[in-house]
């Protein structure tokens, strides 16, 4: 990366030690005040702060005031899938298994060669230069497990969900790609199903027989999990922390990206964000009071003007 500059390879950050590749997002909390990933702390350098420290802005001290609540990535990765390489945003398994009249697999691609539909995989959606979505994140996630029940009345599940909120001193606002799609699930037991996907005809594999019930029965039996015999589909969200593709500093987000009424953090509630938040009743009340005051002053001034004119007129 940055061949003419730092010329980094993957292992410049993902240092390995005894065949252990450092990586933090999935298993370990992101660095915080007490757990800064400095080489002296754990021998691994993987966070931005490992090299840049927690107060890296030399010319703008005000920006350093943000690093306790806002992750570096939030401002320094203004969008992902930049540079003309598409990223997959949507994968709907429910439409898989459709073939053309001759029984051949249907394959649809867009003008850039992105797969839009495949009989084996269903519908897919792609995007370029995508604005991330943001959430409070303390570095840990909770995962929706194969045995977890989908609550009644829920139309969408979170395959993984973020831990941390504004009150959590370890949590910071972090950017995410949310991979959306539709997954097969068991509507009776209300669990996700593990289908047996790749295999030959006769094994029950989905890509052999294109029968979700059979594929789920085989997969769930192998997994040792109960299966009712029914398969339906449910929408799912999956949070992918965005931490690569850091942009040159000139392209970092401006203040207004978040500090404005309808900025990128418009939906992140539970805390006061200057420029975004206000007390509408206070603003209304105050501007009304100011308006009435100005009206009163105008009236007073007008009366003064008229009465002074009358006096002069009377005198002359």
């Amino acid at each position: 990366m940055d061949v003419k500059g730092l010329n980094y390879s993957c292992t410049s950050c993902h240092v390995t030690k005894a065949h252990q590749i450092s990586g933090r997002c999935y298993s370990q909390p992101a660095p915080n005040k007490h757990q800064l990933a400095l080489p002296k702390d754990d021998g691994e350098r993987l966070a931005c702060e490992s090299c840049h420290s927690r107060s890296p802005h030399k010319k703008a001290e005000l920006l350093n005031h943000h690093t306790d609540k806002v992750a570096c990535q939030t401002c320094h990765i203004p969008s992902y899938a930049r540079g003309g390489v598409f990223t997959k945003m949507w994968w709907d398994w429910s439409t898989a298994g459709k073939f053309d009249e001759t029984g051949k697999a249907i394959v649809k691609k867009d003008e850039y060669g992105n797969l839009l539909f495949h009989s084996k995989k269903g519908d897919m959606g792609w995007a370029l230069d995508v604005e991330p979505e943001y959430g409070w994140y303390n570095g840990s996630m909770s995962y929706f497990r194969a045995s977890d029940k989908i609550p009644q009345g829920i139309e969408k599940i979170e395959i993984n969900s973020l831990k941390g909120d504004y009150e959590d001193p370890k949590a910071r606002i972090f950017p995410f790609k949310i991979m959306r799609g539709k997954q097969p699930y068991d509507p009776e037991n209300r669990t996700l199903v593990i289908p047996y996907l790749a295999g030959k005809k006769g094994t029950g594999a989905y890509w052999g027989e294109y029968d979700w019930q059979k594929a789920a029965a085989v997969g769930m039996r192998e997994a040792g999990l109960p299966f009712s015999g029914k398969v339906d589909f449910i929408e799912s969200d999956m949070y992918w922390p965005i931490t690569h593709m850091v942009a040159p500093k000139e392209q970092a987000l401006s203040c207004e990206a978040c500090h404005s009424r309808n900025g990128r953090l418009a939906n992140l509630d539970g805390f006061y964000l200057p420029g975004r938040d206000r007390w509408p009743w206070l603003d209304r009340l105050a501007w009304m009071a100011l308006g009435l005051t100005l009206l009163g002053l105008l009236l007073h001034g007008g009366l003064r003007f008229i009465s002074s004119g009358r006096k002069k007129g009377g005198q002359s």
Partner: protein
Amino acid sequence: MKVRLNLYTRFERFWHWFQAFLIIFLLVTGFEVHGSCKIFGYANACSWHNLAGMTLLVLTAFAIFWHLTTGQWRHYRPSFENIQKIIAYYLVGIMRGEHHPFHKSEECKLNPLQALSYLFLKVVLMPLQLGSGLLYYYYNDWLNWGWAARLDGVAFLHTAMAFAVLLFLAVHIYMSTTGGTLFSYTQSMITGWEEVDNGIMNEEKSPIR
């Protein structure tokens, strides 16, 4: 009888106008940070607001010192004497061309209504605004101070007081036009000299020479 008095010393005038500039600038940048207007851009508005706020704090420290050492604080002692007459003058008398019931002097240059409103500004509004602003600035250190408050409360106070200061400013500027001519009060705040009616009729012999 009209007399010319030097009511406002050089420091007082400097303090008044510098403070006026800072307060107006703070209001504009503050309301930009609040999201009410777009003038300097958020980053500039924010850092200039902080700079102006800190400058106002220093200026205020000098002003407090000046008030205490020169005894000028005495002008702000609250008094309700004749306050009804003064209110009546501003509501009615001023239209009829009556004379102001209060007569300024070097010993007492603010009318009671004026003294009361300035006192309110100085001991309630400004301390609350400067205090909440300073707290706001040090928001990141609250946890280190062992103070687990949220930003909401301080931000609310700071916003509410900003509106109060804006209201004060509107009325204050209007009141400055109620002198002999529209700009005579403003002029005396620049030169320091003011022509005042000492309340003694021309026909009478003035006891003051």
